[in-house]
């Protein structure tokens, strides 16, 4: 399976993502933001970081970069596009995903492990996943997912909530909401479920020497689903 990771000026999780994808068997290529064409890929990843210094709004300038029109075309034709952290912010700015990531409600940059509950596994990202609750890492200042009431109704009706923050037993409440996200949302899909945006970083949990290996479960499963 072939994957591509887009590098923007200010991306800083691009190489971690590259390492993770390769570790679990993807043939990965790095793609520069100023390129026009995407290499043939089964999965496009927009990595975490601070693309263009978070100027204007997080992800807004990357959302208009040269490569993005190819990413949008790829996604609209059903291609798998995953954005993690800043990648999620970029996807909302392109309009591929609804809503926006606002500043964390407590105004702090949050850097810690959290638990997320997979809300919908009828898609290529989470189908057959061994665990329903994953421990992953978050590191962000703008992760407070927000959307209008109409948009929320539409994403709920269409089962587009991918994952929600919870405790280790899967309990979803305010206490386990790190950033103030509406309905504890940690990640969402587009309508067709081929585009996924999420704040937690699976690429940071892929080795026993890191603080956990739940990211390994995610990537192994993803590769199997794409085969």
């Amino acid at each position: 399976m072939k994957s591509s990771v887009i590098i923007f000026p200010g991306s800083n999780c691009d190489r971690d993502m590259d390492v993770a994808l390769k570790k679990f068997g993807f043939i990965n290529q790095m793609v520069w933001h100023n390129d026009i064409d995407l290499p043939k890929s089964d999965l496009i990843v927009l990595p975490g970081g601070f693309s263009y210094g978070d100027y204007l709004r997080c992800g807004s300038i990357a959302g208009k970069s040269r490569i993005i029109s190819s990413v949008i075309d790829f996604a609209k034709s059903g291609g798998m596009v995953m954005g993690v952290c800043n990648g999620f912010q970029i996807l909302t700015e392109t309009g591929l995903l609804s809503g926006v990531l606002q500043q964390n409600i407590n105004l702090n940059f949050i850097c810690k492990n959290v638990f997320i509950k997979i809300n919908n596994n009828k898609n290529k990202y989470f189908e057959n996943i061994k665990k329903n609750i994953l421990e992953l890492h978050i590191a962000h200042n703008e992760g407070n997912y927000f959307c209008s009431q109409d948009e929320l109704k539409s994403i709920e009706d269409n089962d587009q909530i991918a994952a929600t923050y919870c405790d280790q037993n899967g309990k979803i409440n305010e206490e386990n909401n790190p950033n103030g996200a509406i309905k504890n949302i940690a990640g969402i899909f587009n309508e067709k479920k081929n585009v996924l945006g999420m704040m937690p970083h699976p690429e940071r949990m892929i080795d026993k020497y890191l603080s956990g290996e739940d990211g390994s479960i995610f990537f192994t499963n993803l590769l199997n689903n794409l085969k």
């Binding site: 263009y52 210094g53 100027y55 204007l56 300038i61 208009k64 970069s65 040269r66």
Partner: protein, 77 residues
């Protein structure tokens, strides 16, 4: 009353953010954009009925906190 303030970078001070926005706009085919300077806008609701007094207080706030006068100008509107 509400007092509105615009804070902008002084002429000649490098604005990398404005520059990045300008380049993005040009990339989006707004090719006539010559320059973009980004600033900040504040609406301050102040418990003061006299306009002159309110504005003078906001002016003080600008000097003490809202603007860095080394690189920024402020305009009360």
């Amino acid at each position: 009353m509400i007092v509105k303030v615009i804070i902008t970078l002084k002429k000649g001070v490098l604005d990398p953010q404005g520059k990045a926005i300008q380049q993005t706009l040009i990339g989006m085919n707004f090719s006539s954009v010559k320059e973009v300077r980004q600033g900040k806008f504040f609406e301050i609701d102040i418990n003061e009925k006299d306009e002159t007094k309110a504005k003078s207080k906001v002016q003080e706030m600008c000097k003490k906190l809202l603007a860095n006068l080394v690189i920024e100008d402020f305009k009360i509107i």
